[in-house]
Symmetry: C2
Subunit: 359 residues, 2 copies
Amino acid sequence: MKIPQDTLLLTPGPVAVPHFVMEAISQPVIPHRSQAFYEFYRGLLTDLQYLFQTQAQTCCMVGTGTQGVEAAMYSLFRPGNKVIIPAMGKFSQRWVDYGKIVGLNIVEISIAWGKGLQIDEIEPILKQHPDSAGIILTHCETSTGVGIDLEEISLRCKQVNPEMLVVVDAITSVGVIPFYLDAWKIDCAVIASQKALMNPTGLCAFAMSEQATGRLKATHPADSRNLFNYLAHAEEASYPYTAPVQLLYGIHAALSWIKGETLAKRWNHSHQLAKYFRKVLGQMGGEIFSETPAASLTAFTFPRQNMEGVKEKLEREYGIQISGGQGELKGSILRVSHMGVTGKEEMKKCLEGLRNIQS
Amino acid sequence: MKIPQDTLLLTPGPVAVPHFVMEAISQPVIPHRSQAFYEFYRGLLTDLQYLFQTQAQTCCMVGTGTQGVEAAMYSLFRPGNKVIIPAMGKFSQRWVDYGKIVGLNIVEISIAWGKGLQIDEIEPILKQHPDSAGIILTHCETSTGVGIDLEEISLRCKQVNPEMLVVVDAITSVGVIPFYLDAWKIDCAVIASQKALMNPTGLCAFAMSEQATGRLKATHPADSRNLFNYLAHAEEASYPYTAPVQLLYGIHAALSWIKGETLAKRWNHSHQLAKYFRKVLGQMGGEIFSETPAASLTAFTFPRQNMEGVKEKLEREYGIQISGGQGELKGSILRVSHMGVTGKEEMKKCLEGLRNIQS
């Protein structure tokens, strides 16, 4: 089959992979049980600390974002543990469903899609469930574009119940919008390669506080979903199974680039893109779907338009790929990414296409 | 860090990634919820049927080989199920350990490392445990280089107990040595990207008989380790989570190449390399470690030599990377791959280096 070579990819993950990342991935594989690998991986784990803004332990795992969050939940909680999960879209709902599958005692907070968890909503629930072992927060819900005030919510959780673990799906946030693992007292954050890191899908990464690592179930090495194994090996800068060496090359290249740019500049880049995109979109009659939109992406709608039709036309006539709605939002919203190396020019092209189609 | 660009990689996984695979991986990512992706993935799944020699369903999953085999075990069996597992090296032992972790009732057959499961050994055990739900067979045990007579053993299992599922760790066998899923009545086989498919580590693939798919636990989509989800989506040529599009490009390129070469030729390639390598090695005083070596790799030793020292010297002085022993074999054996695009020239270079070092 023919892969289109000249499409503008603006989906909110995966994002386009820059040339320097692909060049890094194309380097020859080195054996993962070698000093050269350990040195390389140690540097990468340190760069991840910068990305997560933490002194805590970091590690990588072969997996999608879903596999990553599920591994964190599986590793940190035991069947019967009470875990609070606000569900406000397709992905946060998935963590509720998974928690039930693995036998956690889930306290679900149902929030209308398009809205985000508010600090007043969480406080009574924290007090009502003082025996909670943890909470799973989705920093930016990719299906709706909603961001939450993670700082306030996480700190409040730890204030009311210092024993509970704050676990964050940070897949569409870390490296894109401000995120401080240590300052915000987050215990575990999960990211995936195809978002801010602009890499192929297939790798996820974690940062974990001492309080959380102390809660990990020590286990036999033959349990490849248990983060205990990845973190124990990461202390020696090794990987517990066959290491995804080339995927790690790509992550390393992206992290080096982000370090060079600085996180502050990266955060501002997405912020400016989102601001610009939303301003022009508003002038065109577009409506932002999210009540509290994160800068990672914009979910929007044009009143009285078939949004799937707009999406298809944008691809067919302009070669621009954006995402539609997921689950119950299929057909009613569109989503455009502000992550990665795409800049104002790409936003302009997308907006011009949208303007022509919907007018 | 500097990645050495001119090393000869002869480890029994990962194997060197050929240029045409890297070129495929470097293509722009396409959205995974698109007709273009479905068409592409459908072709790939059909090519996998050729690789596994089957008409059965196939699917891919983000994961290492270990994650793949564990996902198969997790998906096909329920806690309390009796499952027979011959342990004859580091990897087959891992399946025993994992089975215990997930609460399976494991009937372990302990076999000395270097030997392989024999047909006479399995027969009384099958009769002793007529209530077995399945057996996990490792076709080629990468840690010892041992191959088993999978055809005879699988057919005997199904003859004695047609209800049991034959699950095969085929990671270091499919695409390298003869393997026929349908003809040998295998219910589920697992492979990983970094062996015969000569791809970066990070993807695994499965073929599964109707008898096995009928046994899968239908589950909620939010259970990313359950193969039910991957197979149900594969029927529509879609992927249940964010698809590892670029990794799939690489697998597709390798499968197209293998199809062009034909499997028969690929099997003979490894067979001839192994034959040649072992003949010259024998002339040099090397001893094959495995009683029944598979053609995928050679595990060997030089009597009265420090094998780790030989390995390090081969790398330092000749730029050739091979593997040492794992687990209890660390220091006592070396392992050289006969998989992938490496040919007789590379075998010669390795043998010359070994001859110079050990003489």
